[in-house]
Symmetry: C2
């Protein structure tokens, strides 16, 4: 499938076109302008169409930034150390910046961990985002993959066993606040408790991958995490927050900029903070709270509808990611832009995903599903290993167990 958001691969109209040289007389006739306008119009129609059926990836497509279009003509590039940004944080001991994407946040957080503990071992559950393992390769760190529970959460008994195996080296731990596929939230308190009990006191560093739920979490349960995807923004970006005391480990003075280089990317898209500022101001705390509650309700609604239709489905607590049996029709998967892994697929219920959209989706899934079974009896596949027996709709688990 290979696409997230509106991935350009699906839009043959624009990006695969060669750059063509303007003819000398085109400037006079305006033919070139007309040609480009027609390509853009086609691309726009395609984006409208794709946006209609977007379910599989955690992007809030429900945004409106009309007032910001006046700034589009400006080059806004943020360089050097983003100290002034820290004023958005409440306490003096934090430092943060707006990244180009979630991967950059993970690269930055894990790099700080390595600079604080140069011989530290990176621990991450096997359902962590792929950028966590990429960071380990890039930074030449020892990396230990920890097992997960059926829910997708880190398996803390395996974590403890792995800690004891590597007791001589400090621990750098990636904790997921909403895993990519199942939306599982690792138990941060338990992770810290195990570290302390296993003799790692003052020898551990934790990076929280806030992913999607970092921003939703404060509205369902008190945790200090912050991420962006929920906000809905036309450019990818993220928020990285760390302790001020650690940031010097990755900073270097750059005379040319008369500033310090403390981020991963030198240049940062200056439009992204504008979008975030605009959205945060328009919606406010109460606005976000309402949206998060609606998402969780809608996710429960979707899970209920799927189960009622005899389809295995799981929804983690605090999560708006509904995991269910993988549709066997690639065309259907592409149309709804579902992300699949093994026997499962998921829908991430974002603010722009309405109950009506979910109904259309389930109805269509039920319809195509009966086609796969050639009109005969539908025998749901067993996905107990992926979602747990209680969430599986196969004949064995539906009635027995």
């Amino acid at each position: 499938m290979g696409e997230e958001g509106n991935r350009a691969r699906e839009e043959p109209a624009l990006v695969q076109l060669r750059i063509t040289e303007p003819e000398a007389d085109e400037e006079l006739t305006g033919d070139r302008e007309a040609y480009m306008a027609s390509v853009l119009a086609k691309y726009r129609r395609n984006l409208v169409e794709r946006t209609k059926h977007h379910l599989g990836y955690p992007y809030n497509l429900d945004f409106e930034y009309g007032a910001l279009s006046q700034l589009q003509p400006f080059s806004i590039n943020n360089l050097g150390t983003p100290s002034s940004r820290a004023t958005m944080l409440e306490k003096n001991e934090y430092w943060g910046y707006i990244t180009n994407c979630g991967t950059e946040g993970n690269l930055h957080g894990i790099l700080i961990g390595r600079e604080v503990f140069p011989d530290g071992v990176l621990y991450a559950s096997r359902e962590s985002h792929y950028s966590v393992f990429k960071a380990a390769r890039m930074y030449r760190m020892d990396c230990v993959k920890v097992k997960t529970l059926v829910s997708g959460e880190i398996d803390c008994s395996d974590f403890q066993a792995k800690l004891i195996e590597n007791q001589e080296k400090p621990a750098i731990v990636n904790v997921n606040i909403g895993t990519t596929v199942k939306g599982a939230v690792d138990d941060l308190d338990l992770v810290i408790k195990l570290l302390e009990e296993s003799g790692f006191e003052n020898r551990f560093y934790i990076h929280c991958d806030g992913a999607l739920f970092g921003l939703m979490m404060p509205f369902v349960k008190r945790r200090e995490r912050l991420r962006h995807k929920f906000i809905g923004c036309p450019v990818p970006c993220g928020v990285q927050i760390t302790r001020k005391t650690h940031i010097n480990a990755v900073s270097r003075d750059v005379e040319y900029l008369a500033s310090r280089d403390a981020t991963i990317m030198g240049s940062r898209n200056g439009h992204a903070p504008l979008f975030l500022w605009y959205a945060l101001n328009r919606k406010g705390y109460r606005g976000f709270q309402k949206e998060v509650q609606r998402c969780l309700l809608n996710a429960h609604f979707l899970k209920g509808r799927l189960r009622a239709a005899g389809i295995g489905a799981m929804l983690n607590e605090l999560s708006s990611t509904v995991v269910f049996e993988r549709p066997q029709d690639d065309e259907f998967v592409r149309k709804w832009q579902l992300a699949c892994e093994g026997n499962i697929a998921h829908v991430v219920v974002m603010p722009n995903v309405t109950v009506e959209k979910l109904c259309v989706f389930v109805d269509e899934l039920v319809r195509v599903r009966s086609v796969w079974s050639s009109g005969g009896e539908i025998s749901p596949p067993c996905i107990a290993a992926e979602v747990g027996r209680e969430n599986c709709a196969c004949l064995l688990h539906l009635h027995g167990q």
Copy 2:
């Protein structure tokens, strides 16, 4: 100074403001909308003002993307392997993608070098961009700094000596196509010749940091490099190009995306390729050629005006970066957004920098300079070490040598 492009630190109006919570009745009265509109209007005026006096950093601010504003409302996020993009390249053996900025291109190119030669030593001239040395630290690579000539080019005799000292390990070389401060172009052919003569045949990897000049170079001399800054684009971005045969060394399959992860950042701003496509199509080869020629001419004009005013100044061949004595007035430096290093400052002559703007700049510099000398005789500082004796305007070098 700490700013490049329109760095937000200078705009107190927007980013340093706290996010304020909307009052319950604001939604009804529209007060919130009015407040935000006034903040944005102030920010916009500030950007207009900053753009007027932008000289020090290599951004082409002369762009017009009116037709693209219709796409601003869409979330366009490119993930996975950007294979389809490769169609913009002429030959099958190349692979490339559009990055978030120049730093990402350097991080990517050097990472490939390390994966091809895991025990390779990174060689980079001391005037290379800071992200090159950051990459070495991040990737835990041995890194050898090579001396530079007065022009800013890599000192090839020092390079050869360093190669011989480290002969047992493969060489990964960063070659600059326009250094950050002096706009110097390293001699790629000579670098390759030295590597082969020093016993590194088939044991070296070269990353070219195209920086600004990568894109200008094809229009002044035949070299196959491509970069972005010259194009003029409202978001930072870059182009990374590498050999297809090498890209597998840094790629991993990601089932969730049903694609391969081959870039540094997972998400890539999908608007950036649109801006590039639009600009390339509108201007075409001839359009860029004209712009590059105008920039080089204007840079020569600026250097001539500075020298005529008794100010030491240097302009490298093939370069539009004019280096000159550092103004002693911080206010002046800030106003014109000049980048300074040690005793020198520079102006990067981009397409949006006109002869008129340069005249205003030189006139003002001459005026404030006479203020520094308190109306007495101006004694130009010696900057021969930075720009060479022939470009220095100090009393010793101006007349004697």
